[in-house]
């Protein structure tokens, strides 16, 4: 009966689009609203669907991009005394659910025709009043969230483009390219791999050899003024996007035998086979205009 009650509550919330954790949030009057802004760039150029970017990777390839989305979870703001507080995400029934936010830079046009018209470049939530001088977050999903039955999940966990059923999980990040040498496509699908099943009729793995969750730490970021930049040129700087290693998925799909992942994982600070984890260099804080110029951000 407990199971049915839980199902009932979850289903009701899903049906009504009501916040999943209304009581866990800071009350509207307490603390302050945060809008953590993101931008996707190729070097210093703003990313756009349909635009061709030259001089990419070790071969100076030319690319267009057909998908550009990723999940962020576990957002923490760092106070000036060094302590961290979680950003309680606004439960908007669309882009954010529980501790997970989807960022989406494809707009469904031109080269991104298989995407969605809606885009998202911000994570919204509340924190207690205070002075915040840094940000940290993960690119990826918490283990339990990643391995639930996907057809029963609320937005933004119900997008089939980000399903990864073969690996019993989700794609954490998908950036799909077409390059000079790989006009049919060269895909970056980041997700957990090497998963071992639980015994019995469950589809939930017990563990995955490589969770492939990217840890991003941005000290000194002014959350009211600065923008988190994802630089695709930096991600691809050491990669050869004009070739695909024989007998492996097209581009990098996170498998332990897929050597196309080596230069990307290094940039993302992820361990790969014998290479240890390091520090990511793809995400950086970009100084924004002074707060007064942004308008009332409370």
């Amino acid at each position: 009966m407990t199971k049915i009650s839980g199902l009932f509550i979850a289903a009701t919330l899903a049906l009504t689009g009501a916040p999943a954790r209304p009581l866990a949030q800071a009350t509207p009057d307490a603390g302050r609203q945060i809008a953590l802004r993101f931008e996707a760039t190729v070097g210093d150029e703003a990313f756009a669907c349909g635009t061709r970017y030259a001089g990419i990777g070790t071969t100076g390839s030319s690319i267009t991009v057909s998908d550009f989305r990723f999940y962020v979870s576990g957002v923490r703001l760092v106070k000036d005394d060094g302590t961290e507080v979680p950003l309680a995400l606004t439960q908007d029934g669309l882009w954010q659910h529980d501790d997970v936010a989807l960022l989406d830079f494809e707009d469904g046009t031109k080269s991104c025709a298989n995407g969605t018209p809606e885009t998202r470049n911000v994570i919204e939530g509340r924190v207690p009043d205070g002075r915040y001088v840094g940000v940290r977050f993960a690119v990826g999903l918490p283990f339990d969230t990643n391995h639930r039955e996907p057809t029963l999940q609320p937005s933004p966990l119900n997008l089939t483009s980000l399903f990864w059923n073969w690996n019993a999980g989700y794609k954490f990040m998908r950036i799909d390219l077409k390059s000079t040498g790989q006009p049919q496509g060269w895909m970056i699908h980041l997700g957990s791999t090497g998963c071992t099943p639980r015994e019995g009729p469950s589809t939930v793995p017990v563990s995955c050899r490589s969770d492939n969750i990217v840890s991003v730490v941005l000290p000194g970021m002014d959350v009211d003024r600065d923008v988190v930049r994802l630089d695709l040129r930096e991600l691809l700087a050491d990669a050869n996007v004009d070739v695909n290693q024989d007998e492996t998925p097209i581009g990098c799909m996170s498998g332990g035998g897929d050597d196309d992942c080596v230069p990307l994982f290094r940039k993302l600070g992820l361990a790969f086979r014998d290479a240890p984890a390091g520090t990511q260099s793809v995400f950086a804080a970009r100084r924004g205009p002074a707060p007064s110029a942004v308008g009332d951000r409370r």
């Binding site: 039955e149 089939t160 690996n167 699908h189 332990g256």
Partner: protein, 387 residues
Amino acid sequence: VTRRTLGGWVTAIAGVVWLCAAVALAGQGPTYAWDLPPGFPQPKVPADNPMTPEKVELGRHLFYDTRLSVDGTFACANCHKQSHAFADEKPRGVGVTGEMHPRGSMSLANVAYSPVLTWANPTVRRLEAQALVPMFGEEPVELGLSGKEALLIRRLKDEGRYAALFPAAFPGEFDPFTLANITRAIASFERTLISGRSPYDRYRYGADRNAISDAAKRGETLFFSEQTECFHCHGGFNFTETVDYAGKGFAQVEFHNTGLYNIDGKGAYPRPNTGVHAVTEDPADMGRFKAPTLRNIAVTAPYMHDGSIATLDDVLSHYAAGGRTIATGPHAGVGARNPLKSSFVKGFSLTPDERRDLIAFLESLTDQVFLTDRRFSDPWPSHTSAR
């Protein structure tokens, strides 16, 4: 009415709907009439997707509906054909974009009894979850629906038959046109694809002494002998040890390396078909694949996960040699010396007569009733079908 009040009403109504559903679940409802062959156990069904005739009928329509592919050209049935025991005559599947799957389509005969789905993915345990792989998978693209879920739902809502079939299958749901319900219905139909009325079944379980030839009877003896060891992996009522059913207690899940390849002398199979290893990345899982059911095996050629063996006779040669030797090319290697090979694939010798007898036995597992059963056939009238 304020938005908040409206939300409250919606919540309340949803609550009533779900309470009814909970009561229905707890009350079990009428038992599904399986029409099982003699001696067959009752399939295990997930508690959250009980069998109903209405769900099965909806699932049958979806299984044969080409709206389930991005360009409206492919259905599940394109690669799972009733005439081939819901397998395919191609060595490997080909999807809507023309991309070839690394592996061949498996027979769906008796898939209700399989506790693990596909050739070598130990994480895929439910048919409901498996259906998502061909629909939304991109490596390879099969039905090509990734990112097209809204289009799919819209297409289904536009079909007159579904206006009745979906609410009948999922009564009481405000909007039954959901991805979860699509997979539940397809899984329910697939669970009805039970094959157990072959000549061999009539001979063995139906006391019809003349249902199979003398050659097939001698072949049966060979099959279940320590000489060939076939039955170790292909034993039981479904001719595979990977089996589960209601009341069984322990689901059996087995994967075996049969020495089909050995390209580096250390047991490697050619990528991407490295078996369970491709999912778990555990080196010990290299080349481990599920032993498929041998029911209807004579109509599911070509054989092995990659369709690399054309005939049953050649399959016997592979096992008789204790593994396949490939002399030249990128896959060259002596499979018999694969260090990860199952100890039951030890090789054997057969006289030409014995070989014919074994094949006669395997052919006696072909269930013509199953291959022609109208309950499993395309329900769409040919002139209106989406196909």
